[in-house]
Symmetry: C2
Subunit: 386 residues, 2 copies
DNA sequence: AAAACTTTGTTTAACCAATATACAAAGTCT
DNA sequence: AGACTTTGTATATTGGTTAAACAAAGTTTT
């Protein structure tokens, strides 16, 4: 739909601008907001009055004077409502209850025995129900539910394809919206993780971010211009099936030499491979005690991670790369070879200001990101590009 | 800079909306524009009156009645001004004079003997000067110059790095703006080609496009959401140096197994390779007459093109892939193996609606795209995203 | 051919959000 | 104590969109 301009749009733009300025800079005075946004003081006053009326912003008494009248400090009211963030993993369901500022209020997990849709949905409903029951009273109550899923999701919240769950065309959003009567956002697990790191983790304020979720497979969340990029049908970033050896091992996807065959937990499945264990936490323990096979394998995975990351750098030219997912636990052994390969292989101009870090939110990044997507859906966001 | 909303912004948004609606749908009536944009009839009338005053839109007499008063048809005034589009190639400089609708009015070429900056700039100035002299009189005259360059360009029009020219940090925009005193836009050659195909060629109206320029190297122009995507420093899309054989041939870029070593004209440089010729036009002639070596080589290049294209599909999830550049001439021999590899290797959901075509504008795509970038810079473009 | 209906485009008055300006309030500095 | 600063509010103005009425110019029905 085309967007036309009128006074209502102007108000929406400015109100959103003021709200998000307060949200990301609180405590802050009206005068400071006026200065930061470029809006007139009177305009800010009016909009703040409305936001206070909506209980999204609160006044928190006077602040420090800077040589004149003391400012009246404004806070974003994180407690105006709550959201539930969920992550659907292969063997486990995790959930958080968050306030509107992305702070975790409650945390809960449940094991998943199988991937039958009715069973999984039932478990999800139980978990969400528990969270909703545990939510503190607030003006808006539960304002949304966000879910991170290991698979492709379209723009309507339908899980198109989740190979590790054996799901196809599951309208998860409709199922959960019907059950709880609140807005539900469904996101790919890597996309949610990217949102989490962007807003609350290692990538705050970054404009062009590449988030690599390395675990049982490899997925990536791509942030372009501060926004999540989703392809034509809402499921870009399936980079795990990028060919890095054109004549390599055949993959279940139909292609050959896919990245995730060399740089994810799928490497543990190779029958002949000498390894002291076949799960990442155990291998990390072995590596910590200096076990040679574990060290060699992490070195190999780090190198192959670097090769794939180099390809993505040359295509996307990000400012920052964040490695997340289960393998981020192995940072001490993966980080070195990964950075070496990238430094050796990228073009000189890319090297200048590129940083590579590992997740700060650890296993919670996806849940927090999913919860945040629900928050943003509630608060609304609008921007003008020239 | 943050953009705030006020009435001036509203007018800009709506005027731009009306202008571009007329530009892309002319001839069209005021009533139809009102219906298409959702703007009130009165608003459209007012804005059209201003656009007519600016000579960007003209009234072209009555159209067909649809059961009532005959509409007064409006045209976008392509002849309100002209732009010069330039392509800087390795051995040649090409230029077009275009109207605001991207129609070619004049065309000119000049050979390039070497890549010394002063010499190249002098040749460019000569060519641009000739074009400006040949421009028909128009209300706004020459409104801009657009240049497509084989290298990385930053957001200020500085050529950061053009390996095939031996250029580094050339502020081409400043040089040409000083010489001609009109706005100059500098773009990467592949980005310009993508813009050309998007607006006037094989990719009209496509939202998510991947344009592959395969010639002396490989570059790609990425259109996301109908807009050109440029990375953090304005030079994404250097996909030619994507690794497709992790232990492959070393490349001049420092990496190994880069895509363009297997799927561009750089393959002709392999000493031992049995080939009847070492340029694309000659090889095409040989292939046409059934020469076995030429056929085998095109088959190999098509296959490797497909492998790289598959990687990009899995990352970007485009709706359409357009192959352009010098190698697009060899479509009859490249197209088959390329499509076969892609069909074999992409994920099932990608295959559903993905199309692969070859350039419609041929060698002129880049120039037309560069010219169009200059047109858009003149007309202005503004959009609101919710 | 007259009347009724349709479609196109303009005129008018009303609305409303941002703004500049003046002003009030509450502080600091000399 | 007086001058200056900073913060926040009140008021009148501006300017763009809009709904509604209207005028103009056509087609369709009777």
């Amino acid at each position: 739909m085309k967007v036309t301009g009128d006074q209502a749009l102007v108000k929406k733009i400015n109100k959103s601008l003021v709200l998000h300025t307060i949200r990301t800079h609180s405590p802050v005075s009206r005068a400071k907001v006026s200065e930061m946004t470029g809006l007139n003081k009177a305009t800010v006053s009016n909009l703040v009055a409305e936001l206070c009326g909506q209980e999204l912003v609160t006044e928190a008494g006077p602040g420090e004077s800077s040589g004149g009248r003391k400012p009246l400090m404004l806070h974003f009211n994180r407690m105006a409502g709550t959201v539930v963030g969920l992550e659907l993993r292969i063997r486990q369901l995790s959930a958080v209850l968050c306030d509107l500022g992305g702070h975790i209020l409650q945390e809960l997990e449940a094991p998943l025995d199988n991937h039958e849709l009715p069973y999984v949905v039932e478990q999800m409903k139980k978990l969400i129900g528990t969270m909703i029951a545990a939510a503190p009273p607030s003006p808006y109550g539960i304002v949304g539910i966000g879910v991170g899923v290991p698979g492709m999701v379209d723009e309507h919240g339908v899980v198109l394809f989740a190979p590790n769950l054996g799901w196809e065309m599951v309208d998860l959003r409709a199922i959960l919206e019907e059950a709880f009567a609140v807005p539900v956002t469904i996101d790919n697990e890597a996309n949610a993780g990217a949102q989490g790191e962007l807003n609350f983790g290692a990538a705050r304020g970054v404009r062009h971010l590449l988030y690599i979720s390395a675990g049982s497979g490899i997925g990536s969340g791509i942030i372009i211009g501060g926004e999540l990029y989703k392809g034509a049908r809402g499921y870009a970033g399936e980079t795990g099936h990028m060919t890095i050896e054109s004549g390599g091992t055949p993959c279940s996807c139909g292609s050959r030499g896919c990245w995730e065959l060399y740089a994810s937990e799928r490497t543990y499945d190779q029958p002949g491979l000498p390894l002291p264990a076949r799960t990442t936490p155990e291998l990390v323990r072995h590596a910590r005690s200096g076990q040679a096979d574990a060290l060699r394998h992490f070195d190999s995975m780090g190198t192959y991670l670097g090769i794939g990351v180099t390809n993505l750098i040359n295509s996307f030219n990000p400012e920052l790369i964040v490695i997340g997912g289960a393998l981020s636990e192995a940072e001490p052994w993966l980080g070195g070879p990964l950075r070496d390969v990238v430094a050796e292989r990228t073009l000189p101009y890319h090297k200048q200001q590129l940083e590579i870090t590992f997740s700060k939110l650890g296993g919670k990044g996806t849940m927090i990101g999913a919860a945040f997507a629900a928050v943003m859906h509630f608060l609304g966001d609008i921007r003008v590009t020239i």
